[in-house]
């Protein structure tokens, strides 16, 4: 299914390198243009997010009243989604490091998600973004438990993958946390037991803080509203998890997205890397508000091509990337959420069978 990325005629190689140069040019234009407006954008998102979180917590403190429960849960869910995607994911990518603000920086940011930022940065920024959709290298390809391409070996347990994919969604952060421990690489001898135990301790410490806040402290402070407050927090976390799972899976696994073999990326040039990023991702169409709520991961193709450009700039480069793809005869997988969602599920079901 993958187009041959290596064994291609010279003319094709030239075209690929031209594609690389054009994408480099788009990138440097954005780098030169980013400035005060971008800084204002990210600070506004932070202010809105913290405002929503404060509002949600306050409303849930009196959530014996059903309208307060609804409003509180809605605000907290929105806050957690913004915090996880437009803020956490993108800041940890270093998209805002250029501002030199230590409060909005990939080296100092910690997110409201189980997996500690450091562990996630290693598996995500380095392994996934470098080896996108390379079977055997990109552990994100099915998060090691799902079979998402015919090149991955089939085991009978995969018959159950539609079930556990559905079960994974509401507890996605636990799945990611476990995945970031990389137990499979310890078993394979690629990660030392010592560093595994260190990661485990780090995760345990963070888990205690995360659970204490949402399931002990805020409910206790809510007094008579303790139970509805706890349920509101649980709902907000679960909805955030389902949303993140949906957006991420729709960005990588709709039916037409390609996978690659390790041989194909041997000696890969910058142009070929770009080509693989484009062919390994899928966009989701929607309104500006929808894009913000997905952390602009609805522009998954642009994100994979330019992982460290500020997310608010993806919308403006998307038409240029799309036009480039059209000119080079490359697929540019995009569609509305329901279509990508159905297509993603189609793939989960198809590869459940040998």
């Amino acid at each position: 299914m993958a187009t041959a990325v290596t064994a291609v005629p010279d003319k094709q190689v030239d075209l690929t390198e031209e594609l690389g140069r054009e994408l480099d040019r788009i990138r440097s234009e954005v780098v030169a243009a980013r400035g005060a407006d971008d800084a204002r954008y990210i600070r506004t998102v932070i202010t809105v997010q913290r405002g929503l979180e404060t509002g949600g917590r306050l409303a849930l403190a009196v959530s014996v009243l059903p309208p307060a429960w609804l409003a509180g849960t809605a605000m907290l869910t929105t806050a957690k989604i913004l915090e996880n995607m437009e803020l956490g994911h993108n800041i940890l990518h270093g998209q805002w490091d250029w501002m030199g603000d230590p409060a909005i920086h990939s080296t100092t940011w910690e997110w409201d998600f189980l997996s500690p930022a450091d562990a996630w940065k290693r598996t995500h920024n380095h392994l996934h973004h470098t080896y996108t959709n390379v079977v055997g290298r990109d552990r994100d390809l099915g998060y090691t438990i799902l079979r998402m391409s015919p090149e991955q070996p089939w085991y009978p347990v995969h018959l159950l993958q539609p079930l556990y994919n559905a079960l994974l969604a509401p507890v996605f952060e636990w799945g990611i946390a476990a995945y970031d421990l990389e137990a499979d690489t310890v078993a394979a001898g690629r990660k030392s037991v010592r560093s595994f135990l260190g990661d485990l301790a780090g995760l345990a410490r963070k888990t205690v803080r995360q659970l204490a806040k949402d399931y002990v402290l805020f409910p206790l402070l809510a007094g008579p509203s303790a139970v509805p407050c706890l349920l509101g927090n649980l709902t907000a976390n679960a909805l955030r998890n389902v949303w993140a799972h949906t957006i991420i899976f729709c960005g990588h696994f709709p039916g037409d997205v390609q996978t690659f073999s390790e041989e194909q990326i041997d000696g890969e040039t910058r142009g070929q890397w770009y080509l693989r990023q484009i062919q390994g991702s899928a966009n989701i169409e929607g309104s500006p508000l929808f894009h913000v709520l997905t952390g602009n991961l609805s522009h998954q193709i642009e994100h994979h091509v330019f992982p460290d450009l500020p997310s608010n700039r993806y919308a403006e480069v998307a038409p240029q990337v799309r036009e480039l793809c059209a000119r080079h005869g490359l697929p540019y997988v995009t569609g509305p959420l329901h279509q990508q969602y159905a297509s993603m599920w189609g793939r989960v079901l198809r590869h459940a069978l040998p």
Binding site: T47, W98, A212, K213, L217, L221
Partner: protein
């Protein structure tokens, strides 16, 4: 500006700070993984203790190319000593730049405004912005006050200050401090060199101080008519210089000459100097090509030109670098070297072995190197 800035929420004084700190500790588990400080900083940047800030309350022009900025520091600001300087973080086009400025106001109670006086370097990035494009209300980030160009307590009985150009600023802080004392300054000589009377910073105030303080002898010299200050002229204008503790601040040329003169007289220990700019002793030669620097933890890579510091280049590349004085004194900028070698921009010396702590503010690259940051 935030609403708190407009309505002027002020948490000052010992009790206020203590209460806020206690409240922050108590609520920390609720805001995890953020901190209460992050929320306070949204209400008003001046409430943040982790990233101290100040608000410009007044800007006064000092001639056509300089200005005094009055800044009210927020939480987390420590009282300074006369003669010290502070790092100032200025946001220009969304990017924060750090420069150091001498504090020209005398030390006051916590929360009282401080002043800095900035001369615009027409080719510089930050100083013209501070002088010409900074309005009252602007928030600046503040680093801790530092530096040893200060007055010992009690002050020596006979003092000599030699300054040139904007080098008058730290001495102005010291003079204003001495002027408030009773009895005021004991026996002070100030030799100050400026291009001409119009471009002489604090011209009127200096004359006024000299008239008010019997112990202060002021000698202004102008380079347009008198030429530059040299050690020989200093000795001519202040014949008893050997009997005085000396503070000298000005261009590198003046400092180097004065240091040689005092050392030759065996009086180096009575001399204090402040440098405003790092001047490579050995200019970048043909063999100094700079190099590519990789920051191991962040994964960032950047090319560092021959005469650039690792600190500045790292910051430009978006790495949060530790720093203090930015001029090779405080060792607040130490970063372990993992691989490669560095060049000391002051001496030209090439050094560095794996694990060595590198002062990034005064070292540049020689060939590829890796820093543990």
């Amino acid at each position: 500006m935030s609403w708190a800035g407009r309505t002027g929420v002020r948490i000052t004084g010992w009790t206020g700070e203590r209460l806020l700190a206690a409240a922050s500790r108590l609520t920390a588990p609720l805001t995890s993984p953020s901190t209460p400080d992050d929320y306070l900083g949204l209400l008003d940047p001046l409430l943040s203790a982790r990233h101290p800030a100040g608000r410009v309350t007044a800007v006064r022009a000092e001639g056509p190319a300089a200005a005094t900025l009055e800044i009210r520091p927020g939480r987390g600001w420590a009282r300074h000593r006369a003669g010290q300087y502070l790092p100032v973080g200025v946001e220009i086009d969304g990017v924060r730049h750090w420069r150091t400025y001498s504090i020209t106001s005398p030390p006051d109670a916590a929360g009282a405004p401080i002043t800095i006086t900035v001369k615009a370097d027409p080719r510089g990035r930050v100083s013209p912005h501070l002088v010409h494009r900074t309005a009252p209300g602007t928030v600046l980030r503040l680093g801790p006050p530092q530096g040893e160009f200060t007055l010992p307590e009690p002050p020596p009985t006979r003092l000599l200050f030699v300054t040139a150009g904007s080098g008058i600023t730290p001495v102005m802080g010291i003079l204003r401090t001495l002027a408030r004392r009773s009895p005021p300054a004991p026996d002070v000589v100030l030799l100050h060199s400026a291009p001409d009377p119009h471009q002489c910073l604090f011209h009127a105030e200096l004359a006024d101080l000299a008239a008010r303080l019997p112990g202060l002898r002021l000698q202004l010299t102008y380079t347009r008519t008198d030429g530059r200050l040299t050690p020989d002229r200093i000795a001519g204008l202040c014949p008893d210089w050997r009997q005085r503790d000396a503070w000298v601040c000005g261009p590198a040329g003046l400092l180097t000459a004065v240091e040689g003169y005092w050392t030759a007289a065996g009086l180096r220990h009575r001399l204090r100097m402040e440098r405003f700019r790092l001047t490579p002793v050995r200019p970048a030669g043909a063999e100094d090509t700079g190099g590519r620097v990789r920051f191991a933890r962040t994964g960032t890579e950047t090319d560092v030109p021959a005469s650039a510091t690792l600190l500045g280049s790292g910051e430009t590349a978006g790495v949060v670098m530790p720093y203090g004085c930015r001029m090779g004194i405080c060792h607040g900028c130490l970063v372990p070297l993992l691989d490669g070698q560095v060049r000391d921009l002051r001496t030209g010396e090439v050094h560095g072995e794996p694990g060595e702590l590198i002062q990034t503010c005064v070292n540049g690259a020689t060939g590829p190197l890796v820093l543990d940051l």
